[in-house]
Subunit: 366 residues, 2 copies
């Protein structure tokens, strides 16, 4: 872990760049907005793959979350080391080293995992670990997941037959739906996913297999899952930060609007031409897989191109020219892989550094 | 820094995934190929922004490199902490905190830096640091760099007038040329860059300002710079690894061919359909800014889509189906930002882990 990149009390303009800045007022508003929209309607299990930080997980739990989820065993380790006691690895865990670590972790916390394959169920059972096991359904994402209906029920029977594993329910997450731009498209995708869930639950009931929890959903759709009535628990992640890609979605009822709270603070390091400025934040400071970062509240500056350590800003002819050394706030294109580039959140309130939170699951790949 | 991801002596198939694997035979062959092509023709100052690892820098120095370069002050710190004594920050260093750290470092090593702006020259001079200063010329990359010719000479005069700074020469790097696909296109771009260098050197000579070194070039063009005769030193980085994007270049004389030595080791974690397999290496394990990773020596498997923690492989109908848990080697699309996702190289020779090298400048953003 690199050394702390700022000091408490510092003005944000004094922080060396690039830095990952969390605006605490906006972040806390997002926590409150989520809690208000879900209270008494659905269990909330926020996704820690987004933030990778026990400090943030604790704040989510304080507002009613039942636990968190993550994608990797090593992320679960970092969260449990940081004091979190209920973690769902919302992903398949395959391979002897990972399953051995998962089994160790299950002695220290309430742990869940997803499966989509009978071989994997057998390997988890053989580890002796006491685990909540969710069957991941393919509901339109075209990634992992077993086919809904009979194949899922057959897998559930194997879990029920096992000695150590507890069948905890279904995971039905439609990742592709999260960034469908119109609410209508997202609504149609989630309705279709809900039908797969209802059908699978009906067959489970017929087989006398109780299905305690259906978990899934993301920040771009979660109220659609709530209204569809097939989900018991939502796995929202990005709502705390709101990146530039999510901001390109249509945000309309029943989904509330969240605020940008996560920024890459960058400095203008070169002014080579009247229509171009270079900032010191490139590919290694802000992930570009879902589009370039967006310059925040600085009219006429467009981040148009990233190389490893540089960003090229186009300057519109009407724009105020940036100064050499000027600090700019960038809204990252995609929050999750951007966070994974940093060791620390520089937490800022009204222009002052209030705290530094370590991103203890940064680089937790296994 | 995360804990070591493998043990010396382990078979590579036993290493937990994702892991960043360095094939030492291919890596050493690349070192030798570079040395053979440049010996007695040009100074070599390899770019450590690619590998971020003193262990690799030392092996480059052992084969004749005069020092290394990097892009960030904190990278220079990590390299100097690792025993490297001659480092060029081949980039502009702007802002009080960075310049203060640069000045501290200059007490411990032979340090160079680039400039393209008189304000920045004044700030470096005011720091009191003893620095080699190179003027970065804009030679076609459209990123940083002052215009060649008179503007560069005027900036050189300011450096010459300063008390602490030493005018060390010019940096002329054409980043855009590196991935022009045909050798002919790259040749034309480097010839045009050379004319800018020659013209600026002529004007410097006329102003009686000695220009000790012209530095620049990258792995995709460096022999073209050597043959153009305008460069004294090359800054090759990616040649040690050869990523999938560089492999899409035409490789023809005078450039030698390098081998893929860097791989992301991944596991098949889900087999949801006959035409699709899912691996456990996504955006957080392999940067996709320059295209998807390429599956290595496994006919009919195409990495088509990455999400944060998953890669989707398309399986051609004629291909051998992967097994659940099967290990696959992926050639990353772009080596530099991929390396920056890991804390360790798992160094492998003929299928066995031989060493673990820490990537001590991982996350060195400032």
């Amino acid at each position: 872990m690199t050394r702390a990149p700022a000091s408490v009390g510092q003005r944000v303009e004094e922080v060396d760049t690039p830095a990952l800045v969390l605006d605490l007022d906006a972040f806390e508003a997002n926590l409150a907005t989520l809690a208000a929209s879900t209270r008494d309607r659905v269990r909330v299990r926020p996704h820690a793959k987004t933030h990778k930080c026990p400090e943030i997980a604790k704040r989510q739990l304080a507002l009613g979350a039942v636990g968190v989820c993550c994608q990797k065993v090593t992320e679960a380790e970092a969260l449990i080391d940081g004091g979190i006691t209920d973690v769902l690895v919302s992903n398949e865990v395959v391979g002897a080293p990972k399953i051995a670590r998962l089994a160790e972790l299950a002695k220290r916390a309430h742990l869940g995992v997803c499966v989509d394959n009978p071989q994997n169920v057998a390997a988890l059972e053989a580890s002796g670990a006491k685990l909540d096991v969710y069957i991941e359904l393919e509901v339109g994402m075209r990634r992992c997941g077993i086919a809904p209906g009979a194949p899922a029920v057959s897998l559930a029977k194997e879990i029920v037959r096992s000695k150590n594993l507890r069948f905890a329910g279904l995971q039905a997450y439609h990742g592709r739906a999260q960034h469908m731009r119109t609410t209508e498209e997202r609504h149609a995708a989630i309705e279709a996913a809900a039908q797969h869930v209802f059908e699978t639950k009906r067959l489970l009931e017929k087989a006398a297999i109780p299905c305690p929890i259906v978990t899934g959903a993301g920040s771009g759709t979660y109220m659609l899952e709530v209204e569809a009535g097939a989900w018991d628990e939502i796995q929202v992640g990005s709502y705390i930060f709101m990146d530039a890609d999510y901001a390109r979605n249509e945000w309309a009822a029943p989904l509330p609007r969240f605020q940008h709270s996560l920024f890459v603070l960058a400095s203008v390091m070169s002014l080579p031409a009247a229509d171009r400025a270079i900032v010191d934040a490139g590919l290694k400071a802000s992930s570009v897989d879902s589009g370039m970062p967006v310059v925040w509240q600085r009219e006429g500056l467009t981040y148009s191109r990233a190389s490893d350590e540089h960003g090229v800003l186009d300057i519109a002819s009407a724009a105020r020219m940036p100064a050499l050394g000027e600090k700019l706030f960038l809204v990252p294109g995609h929050c999750d892989p951007t966070v994974n580039l940093y060791d620390w959140y520089v937490c800022v309130r009204r222009g002052r550094v209030e705290a530094l939170w370590p991103i203890t699951a940064r680089g937790a790949l296994n």
